[in-house]
């Protein structure tokens, strides 16, 4: 029995926070890793590769591959198990560590590519495998589902670690990644669970993150309150588990053993709705409880207090259940300390039902719309009655708890082990590791990744090296800098026809790399200016002109014309239209003139034709139009086109 003397007023256990750290990677990149506290040390949770192109400029950075270190390659036996809906959880035939780096769970630089691959997999399943008979249909569907679930569960762990630090929030401290980058990373990973999530544009990621963050906060608040009220109404005790985050993500429900001994306890009111476990008042097993228990101090009114408080009495507390507060609509029962079968059967039943309906009988999609509609209606009905029908969200909830257990979360070690044992027994995925072994796996894989990252490009032991992979990714990114649309369509067709074996890449020359840097920075600045113009009906009220002018000056310096020219000209035209600041307007004109592309010239002419400029500005605009950018470049201080000199008049 653990003696818990901390009074309630000290609040829920407050575990240490996760932290992030960046290490440089050969080839002009950085590996940013999130570490979370675990067993007195630290556990690497995930890393994201940031391709900086060797530049310190913020716009040159690009988030790329993400590795979650507990995401390990499955053994053969695990793969075999994954063909069936029922399996034995835990490791099968594979050691705790692995010497090779893990496979990335996502590549943020080509999010849409992953969406198309997933769609291709679904089409292949429906058109090729589903028609090959029940055995192939059922096993292939199950395998596909299990691999996807496993990956999502690991991604959920990474998201949970990010939530823990609050790096993406407004108040989050910037570390190796900027706040916008954390948000991009968070949103991209969260969207990867959705079929078309990879198609969401970069511009929408910040708002998508805000929306998801708000939803998560609301879920936790709602479930915290729902569970607290149910626990109170049933005469039990509620202990929120913060898991290091601002809002509690989980909770333990306790029973005071002394309450079982009060007269009439057996006839005491119990409403199991939303709690999900059996009536504790009539459970004889609790009267001879042999499991984990704690000692709390309660005041005469039965409230938790400090031992030194007047009237405090020591009471033995029995844990009944652990819940996730992140699950939609109602708290999710994750651990029932008295009946492990309850959570076990929930996972197995749904999977077997799907296996039989979809796999064996082939009741899939529109072909069996009656079944699909009926199934959807039944699921909706069950959900309204509090059933946890969303498997993806259940996996997320378990992932969150697993990370919390790894981090300790201020729980008594004995209680932590007791919960971990029960969580390990829940058959969530055939690929999983037990909670306790995950630290070893993660550490080992992180070391492997570091070794791999440090591996020279020509070393035969690591072909292709990370540096080579980064270079390949850049090669693909550089294709639009060299080739026009028709050629790119041909390259894409080639990639599809060869099932991805052929993907065109440009060799990285210094000139192309410089061009790529400029293009990335241009996009970054265009995104910033888009934010400026979308902030309201005019920009001078909402933005300090020095900030906007700074963006425009940077853009002007880049002088790159290319694929994004239309976008750049468009945003400059809108900035021009939404400001009355002469300096800002002149900078817009200057940018357009210096880009010297047909689109920019057209936009410049259009702005001049539209009128509404001051005489001085108009004169400057006409000079820019006729003289072109070279005049400015050659003599930036000359009258009247220099923004600085214009502003000073």
């Amino acid at each position: 029995m653990a003696l818990i003397t901390a009074p309630w007023a000290l609040g829920a256990p407050s575990p240490g926070k996760c932290r992030s750290e960046g290490v440089p990677v050969p080839g002009g990149a950085e590996l940013v890793t999130m570490f979370c506290p675990s067993d007195g040390g630290e556990m690497p949770v995930f890393s994201v590769l940031v391709d900086t192109l060797g530049s310190a400029a913020p716009g040159a950075r690009r988030l790329s591959k993400v590795w979650v270190f507990s995401y390990a390659r499955p053994s053969l036996l695990q793969r075999a198990q994954a063909l069936f809906p029922v399996f034995f959880p835990g490791p099968l035939g594979r050691g705790a560590g692995t010497d090779s780096p893990p496979a990335p769970v996502a590549d943020l630089s080509s999010a849409s590519h992953q969406t198309w691959r997933r769609i291709a997999a679904i089409v292949t399943q429906a058109e090729v495998l589903d028609v090959r008979g029940a055995l192939i249909r059922a096993s292939s569907r199950t395998y596909l589902g299990n691999t996807f679930s496993y990956k999502q569960m690991k991604i959920a762990e990474a998201l949970s670690a990010m939530d823990d630090t609050g790096v993406a929030s407004d108040a989050g401290l910037e570390g190796p990644l900027s706040r916008d980058e954390w948000r991009e990373l968070h949103a991209r990973l969260a969207l990867s669970a959705r079929l078309l999530g990879g198609l969401v544009s970069d511009e929408r990621l910040s708002s998508a993150w805000a929306r998801m963050a708000a939803q998560e906060q609301e879920r936790r608040g709602h479930n915290w309150e729902l569970l607290r009220q149910r626990v109170e109404a049933n005469g039990l005790y509620f202990e929120p588990l913060e898991f290091g985050a601002t809002n509690p993500a989980g909770a333990v429900v306790w029973l005071a053993q002394s309450d079982l001994e009060t007269p009439g306890a057996e006839g005491r009111f119990f409403d199991r709705s939303f709690l999900g476990f059996a009536n504790p008042w009539t459970d004889p097993g609790l009267r001879q409880w042999k499991g984990y228990e704690e000692t709390w101090y309660l005041d005469p009114k039965g409230r938790r207090c400090a031992p030194e408080d007047g009237g405090a009495r020591a009471v033995t507390m029995i844990p009944l259940a652990v819940y996730s507060l992140s699950y939609p609509r109602a708290p999710l029962l994750l651990v029932d300390f008295r009946n492990a079968a309850r959570t076990h059967s929930r996972e197995v039943t749904g999977r077997v039902a799907n296996y039989v309906a979809l796999g064996v009988f082939g009741l899939t999609g529109f072909a069996s719309w009656e079944y699909t509609a009926g199934h959807a209606a039944w699921q909706w009905y069950r959900q309204r009655h509090g059933a946890a029908t969303d498997q993806a969200e259940r996996l997320n909830a378990y992932a969150e708890l697993r990370l919390a257990l790894l981090m300790g979360s201020g729980l008594d070690p004995e209680l932590r082990d007791s919960i971990a044992r029960r969580v390990n027994a829940v058959p969530l995925t055939p690929f999983g590791e037990s909670v306790n072994r995950e630290v070893a796996v993660a550490t080992s894989q992180y070391q492997a990744l570091l070794r791999y990252a440090a591996c020279p490009a020509d070393a035969p032991a690591c072909v292709p090296s990370l540096e080579e992979r980064i270079s390949r990714d850049r090669g693909r990114e550089m294709v639009p800098l060299v080739h026009g649309r028709p050629a790119r369509v041909l390259f894409t067709a080639g990639a599809i026809l060869t099932a991805g074996l052929y993907r065109h890449r440009e060799p990285a020359t210094p000139a192309l790399l410089a061009e790529l840097t400029r293009q990335r920075r241009t996009r970054y600045l265009v995104a910033k200016l888009e934010k400026v113009v979308n902030s309201g009906p005019e920009i001078d009220t909402a933005w300090d002109s020095n900030v906007v002018n700074g963006y425009l000056d940077e853009l002007s310096e880049l002088q790159v014309a290319g694929r994004d020219d239309k976008k750049v000209a468009g945003v400059l035209e809108r900035v021009f239209a939404k400001t009355t600041n002469e300096e800002t307007r002149l900078r817009c004109l200057n940018c357009l003139a210096r880009r010297s592309s047909p689109e920019s010239r057209r936009t410049l002419s259009r702005l001049i034709d539209r009128g509404g400029m001051s005489e001085a500005l108009l004169r400057a605009a006409e000079m820019l139009e006729t003289s072109g950018a070279s005049v400015l470049t050659a003599n930036p201080d000359s009258e009247p086109a220099s923004p600085a000199s214009f502003g000073s008049r």
Binding site: W8, A9, G11, A12, S169, D170, A171, L191, R194, L196, G197, L199, V200, S201, R204, S207, A208, A210, R211, M212, A213, A214, Q215, Q217, E218, G221, H222, W224, E225, L226, R228, Q229, V231, E232, A233, G235, Y237, F238, P240, T246, N247, S273, K301, G302, R303, R304, Y381, R384, H385, G386, S535, G536, P537, E538, T541, A542, W543, D544, N546, V547
Partner: protein, 801 residues
């Protein structure tokens, strides 16, 4: 004519000319009002002052620019009554004392629910031509209370969707989704399918577009735009960043509307105002905790009541909760001692829990309970037994004690129903004379709604007649019983005890001795029982174990035992424990707070109490509040005296319970009814009866008790509001927003911060004064003081002082 009279006339003329000049001085011709439900004044100001490191400007740049630099901010703008949307908007939207006291009200006699928030039945009723206005407007119309919008002819106004909505704008509703889709385009909609659709924003987007288009119409002068986004978010989410995101969205709306206004020729003479009805008690990191009074009243500890609420409580949310037409739901109690399985006929408690930091509670008349219990007991006893005779004696002693009051009610209500019946006939005739066909222009400006509006009221009256007739029939049968030859076995309880009715209001004695069970009769003291509710899971240091802070009970001003009973116009009793009680008294415009203890009601309706010395812990916590500003006068001395409202407002607005002392009286104020909005040649005698009926209607919805929640507690039961709540007098809940700016010709000062406290009663008169308008002829005068600081040369009238 004497010199004195001539002098008085000359003075009067001069005052009139000055007043006229004051009106003429204001040149605002149009007003655009952004009604932002629940936006707290303090938070808005705090965020406005914060710098956004990314933009280098305020985090609310448009509010900062428009209202901070180019306009005026009324920094201490408070809710007049309780911080609850329907009553508070009713004050803002009328400029008059509140007639609506909750988000839902139940008529004690008929349990008819006035459900002010539910817009779904209104939209369906409107589509079927059965309703024209939202329920709140219907109630105000019955009482002859005009809205601010009524000061403008139909063709001069643009009203958005809101609680006090006249008519409907189908073009906006119908065009919302297509416009939403058009704004986004197909790719954005595909993205939305992954990140979450924003369909709920569609009505706001379309309304804004229609409003912006209407700004160019030369005739229109009144525009409003209602948004409930902040209130909705803050109820669910205590995260400051998330709440600020909503405020920033409001800020962009201000920017768009301001820019659109300036782009019209009338820009210089247009006012833009931002007003909220209340704040919200939200704190980052603290969850607001709910306590279910429905469960408590249904439990043995709460008396085993069958409880009526306006929505299904959480336990029934599964499927029933989807029904959007529901306005009264009965939750039966398994603990009822004498009404088991009779919940549908005899609900005994009606609760309005909305807003959540307070609950309005109506309990069935204690004497009806006792009569019904006695009838049940007598039916089980052998006829003419000793026990039966004793029970009958008890029965008739109660009935005879109540007979004068109940008989008078039956008689008067009967007269009122007869008058209503005649009025229905007259209005039906008037309806026949009204035009049936309308041009498209008439329809556009809503002139076709006048006969439909009247028809809707006539239908409502017919329904009301039926309901009251049922109550009257039962009461007449009950009053017809007498002791001679009484045989309880021949009495059908369902005939003599009115069904679906709570009967007359309970006195303090009733609430302290409320019968909950027969044989032996069990009673409970609801004041003490509610105050003593406590929970065992105390999880947040900011939230205590006791959900109930204090309880307010209205006291009729003529109650024997009240101090200074003669001139009193209102009195309420605040219960914070046996030795922590207060009487708040009003005589004309003066208010007094009297600390008392051990107040007891007697069966004859009188009260007795002991004076209590001032100390900490009394309701509203005035004594110990460091923010109580008595202007240097010793607080003991100041608190012992009567003070007018303005003095109280200035003294208490910064305290923890802000303007609670004024608000609690406003909550039980009974403004005199005026004749309804329409006239069909009603004879004077019927008009008197109809006014009396209207007064009765409003009296019948006054709760027996108002229960106020402790800090960070709430009484919500249909869902959860962990983010925050309102409804109380807490500073965070009661501090609202009033910002105003105008074009060059409106005369609104720039960069002005008004630090004098004002309440919501000041909003409408200030807007009218700025527009050089006064209430229409025949409309009641607006009692609130205008915000004098907004006028270049303040001229305080006697009333304003």
């Amino acid at each position: 004519m004497t010199g004195a009279i001539r002098g008085r006339r000359a003075l009067f003329l001069a005052i009139a000319l000055l007043a006229g000049a004051d009106l003429l001085q204001a040149a605002a011709r149009r007003v655009v009002i952004i009604k932002a439900d629940g936006v707290p004044g303090a938070l808005l100001e705090q965020v406005r002052e914060e710098r956004d490191p990314e933009t280098g400007k305020s985090r609310l740049p448009w509010i900062d620019e428009v209202f901070g630099r180019r306009g005026a901010r009324i920094a201490n703008f408070y809710v007049r009554g309780i911080s609850l949307s329907t009553p508070s908007w009713s004050i803002i939207d009328t400029g008059l004392h509140q007639r609506v006291h909750g988000n839902v009200e139940y008529d004690r006699f008929t349990l008819r629910a006035y459900d002010y928030l539910n817009f779904v039945p209104f939209f369906f009723g409107y589509a079927l031509s059965r309703r024209v206005d939202m329920p709140g407007v219907e109630v105000l119309d019955e009482a002859g209370t005009p809205l601010l919008i009524d000061q403008f002819p139909a063709e001069e106004r643009f009203q958005s969707f809101q609680l006090f909505q006249r008519g409907n704008r189908w073009s906006t509703v119908g065009g919302a989704l297509p416009y939403h889709a058009k704004l986004r385009g197909p790719w954005r909609l595909l993205e939305d399918s992954q990140t979450g659709f924003e369909v709920s924003a569609s009505i706001g987007e379309r309304t804004e577009r229609d409003l912006t288009a209407s700004l160019h119409a030369p005739r229109e002068r009144y525009f409003d735009f209602f948004t409930g986004d902040y209130d909705h978010t803050a109820h669910l989410n205590n995260n400051r960043d998330t709440q600020i995101r909503v405020l920033r969205s409001l800020d962009r709306l201000v920017g768009r509307l301001w820019t659109a206004i300036q782009a019209t020729p009338q820009g210089p003479e247009t006012i833009l105002a931002l007003v909220s009805d209340h704040g919200i008690n939200t704190m980052p990191g603290v969850f607001s905790q709910g306590f279910s009074l429905v469960d408590w009243f249904g439990s043995p500890e709460g008396g085993g009541h069958h409880v009526i609420t306006n929505r299904y409580p959480l336990s029934e949310y599964k499927l029933h909760g989807l029904n959007p037409f529901v306005s009264a739901v009965t939750t039966s109690s398994a603990s009822s001692t004498y009404l088991k399985d009779d919940a549908s006929r005899y609900p005994t408690a009606a609760l309005d829990l909305d807003g959540n930091e307070r609950a309005a509670i109506e309990l069935r008349s204690n004497d009806l309970n006792r009569l019904q219990m006695l009838l049940v007991l007598m039916a089980a006893e052998p006829a003419r037994s000793e026990q039966s005779r004793a029970l009958a004696n008890q029965f008739f002693s109660i009935l005879d004690r109540q007979r004068p009051l109940w008989s008078r009610t039956v008689t008067e209500l009967g007269e009122e129903m007869a008058a209503l019946d005649r009025e229905i006939a007259r209005q039906k005739k008037a309806l026949k004379r009204m035009p049936k066909r309308f041009s498209s222009e008439d329809r556009f400006y809503g002139r076709d709604r006048t006969p439909r509006r009247l028809l809707a009221h006539v239908r409502g009256w017919e329904q009301e007649e039926k309901l009251y007739a049922g109550y009257l029939a039962s009461m007449k049968k009950l009053l017809a019983l007498n002791a001679d030859g009484f045989d309880a076995k021949k009495v059908n309880i369902g005939d003599v005890i009115p069904q679906k009715s709570l009967g007359e209001a309970n006195s303090i004695y009733d609430l302290q001795n409320y019968s909950i069970g027969p044989a032996p009769e069990r009673t409970m003291n609801y004041l003490a029982a509610l105050k003593n509710i406590s929970v065992r899971n105390v999880l947040q240091k900011e939230v205590g174990p006791d959900p109930v802070d204090f309880i307010v009970v209205p006291v009729p001003p003529a109650t024997p035992g009240l101090p200074e009973r003669g001139p009193l116009s209102e009195a309420v009793w605040l219960y914070g424990g046996e030795d922590r009680q207060a009487l708040i008294l009003r005589r004309e415009n003066e208010i007094r707070y009297l600390p008392v203890k051990n107040l007891r009601g007697a069966e004859d309706g009188s009260i007795r109490f002991e004076d209590a010395p001032w100390g900490s812990g009394f309701p509203l916590h005035l004594w110990e509040d460091p923010q109580l500003d008595t202007a240097g006068q010793p607080r003991a001395e100041w608190l012992e005296e009567w003070h007018d409202e303005r003095a109280w407002l200035k003294t208490v607005y910064r305290t923890e319970y802000s303007t609670g002392i004024i608000g609690v009286l406003e909550q039980f104020r009974e403004p005199a009814p005026r004749r309804a909005m329409w006239d069909a040649g009603t004879p004077e005698a019927d008009e008197v009866l109809l006014c009396r009926l209207e007064r009765r209607r409003r009296r019948l919805v006054i709760p027996d008790m108002l229960v106020f929640a402790s800090d960070h507690w709430n009484f919500n039961t249909r869902g959860f509001n962990p983010g925050g709540n309102h409804g109380s007098f807490f500073q965070r809940s009661a501090h609202a927003t009033f910002l105003i700016a105008g074009g060059a010709e409106t005369g609104i000062p720039q960069g002005l911060v008004v630090t004098e406290p004002y309440d919501t009663l000041s909003f409408a008169p200030t807007i009218l004064r700025l527009m050089g308008m006064a209430p229409r002829s025949g409309d009641p005068p607006m009692p609130g003081p205008v915000v004098q600081e907004l006028f270049a040369e303040p001229k305080l009238t006697e009333r304003d002082r």
